[in-house]
Subunit: 302 residues, 2 copies
């Protein structure tokens, strides 16, 4: 299948992560990385991000081996973005212990020719002003998806609200949906966001799965039940990567297609949490993905 | 259809409830009440409980009008059980403000001839020693389901553990599953309980739905997404009532049948939370139930 390409703009980082079951030091992370690796199982990905001159050749090779186009991966003098975080016993809660933006502080994403012609765009969690500047560079994207976080909802609300009518699929978690909308109830929260012109809202609920709201319908899928969650870092980005990867690969724009895409996203997220920092995706095959997709069918059918 | 009967043993009470959206004073409640009303949409129910001589004739008539057999509803001199509770902004959390057991303190359930011959038994949330004494009175129940709570897990663990191998379907929430098993992860928690000989564990997750564990399979269903939740009181009992009502009505014992039963339970629970103290079920029709069942199909299909 000659799949249409996806362009993702976001962060590439090294994460140091502590969870109740262990710890990982300086593993490859960042929203754009997790997204790109997950999406690469389905479609060609253009990665637009910045790293320092400390970024190892081995990691470039890993990303390239997944068919990810690194022409848009700018290298600047200095260090790559570093994040250190610790998850609570309840892994839905985490504290940022250290954050060093490094070269990411001056990130000014510029899309090359191939990247700007991609029909599927993912604006990972960065400053909404940057997200808008990136979106303006796309030729004519068929699907624009976007993530954000509390930091931007609190600190850059006008820029974010200006962006909402241009978004086909907003991918946020339930806490972000509440904060953005001012509504505690997730259904009402999503309706308020749809009222702003966003075409659909996909709410991530961690171990409880995800729920999609569009003006005409609601779709809910549980998370894959796992006996052991090692590290939730990157699960939300890999989820979005699976969703948009499937949409790009199939050209699907129907409600049914979006639903299947969300199940593929859930599959990718379920693999990511099985090891630290998305390392699990270094061994997952396309067959593994299809097998777990069928397990999702068995999980929810009645 | 000549549906097989269900016997439920539990509490009948009057509840005073405060939630973030309102307050209700002395509404008919109690685990056996909510269960019986929900189950009565599907099958004949024998209600085994105790009330005081203050129990109004109008409430007896309401229960009887739902086809609920009240031969086992003992009337004792004194007041009916009273509970007063307040829900937090997050309605998964509530405080008990006042509890008056009244005549319920001396409850010694005795099953009449019809009640003990029922093929489906529900031991609602009461002292596990009483649950065992009740179970011993049944002739040969085909399906035994049971609820419990933190109070008994902490205070009467040996009696509860003795009961587990005799239970076909344990219906508890995720916090109770964790406490009972000593495992934080809900999948592992359920596996530990299955290891004790319980045939299947149905974990209630409030606004996130429910998940069924049996030795061979897992089934997850989301909750029906509602824009407004008025009062969660009784939702868990109505959920169990829908599940067992469907099983009694159809004679289904297959995995598929149990899954459909759980969706019917979810339907009943979704109605209960739409008003205070289960009042919503006073107007819900069997057609309403079928309509929402179809909405569940549309909610999860992909």
């Amino acid at each position: 299948m000659s799949a249409a390409a996806i362009t993702v703009v976001g962060s590439v980082a090294f994460d140091t992560i502590e969870t109740p079951v262990g710890r990982a030091e300086e593993v490859l992370g960042g929203s754009a990385t997790h997204f790109a690796v997950a999406a690469s199982y389905f479609a060609p990905v253009h990665l637009v991000a910045v790293v320092g001159d400390d970024f190892p050749e081995a990691e470039r090779e890993y990303l390239a081996s997944r068919g990810i186009d690194l022409a848009g991966l700018e290298v600047r003098p200095g260090r790559t973005f570093r994040w250190t975080g610790r998850y609570h016993e309840d892994m839905n809660v985490r504290d940022t212990l250290d954050l060093q933006l490094n070269v990411f502080a001056g990130f000014e994403p510029r899309l090359g020719d191939a990247a700007r012609r991609a029909p599927v765009a993912f604006l990972a969690n960065i400053d909404p002003t940057l997200q808008e500047a990136v979106l303006d560079q796309f030729a004519s994207p068929a699907v624009v998806a976007c993530d954000t976080m509390n930091h931007w909802i609190d600190g850059a609300r006008p820029a974010l609200e200006k962006l909402l009518p241009r978004i086909d699929l907003l991918v946020i978690n339930d806490e972000e949906a509440r904060l953005l909308s001012g509504e505690r109830n997730v259904v009402r929260a999503a309706r308020r966001i749809l009222d702003r012109g966003t075409r659909s809202v996909l709410v991530k609920r961690g171990e409880y799965g995800a729920i999609l709201f569009s003006p005409e319908s609601v779709f809910a899928v549980p998370a894959y039940p796992l006996e052991e969650v090692f590290d939730p870092t990157g699960a939300g980005d890999a989820f979005a990567g699976g969703v948009l990867g499937y949409l790009a690969a199939t050209g699907e724009r129907s409600e049914g297609g979006l639903r299947r895409a969300i199940v593929y996203g859930s599959v990718l997220a379920s693999f990511v949490v099985e090891d630290f920092g998305g390392q699990r995706l270094r061994t997952v095959t396309r067959d593994d993905i299809e097998r777990r997709y069928r397990q999702f069918v068995a999980l929810v059918e009645f």
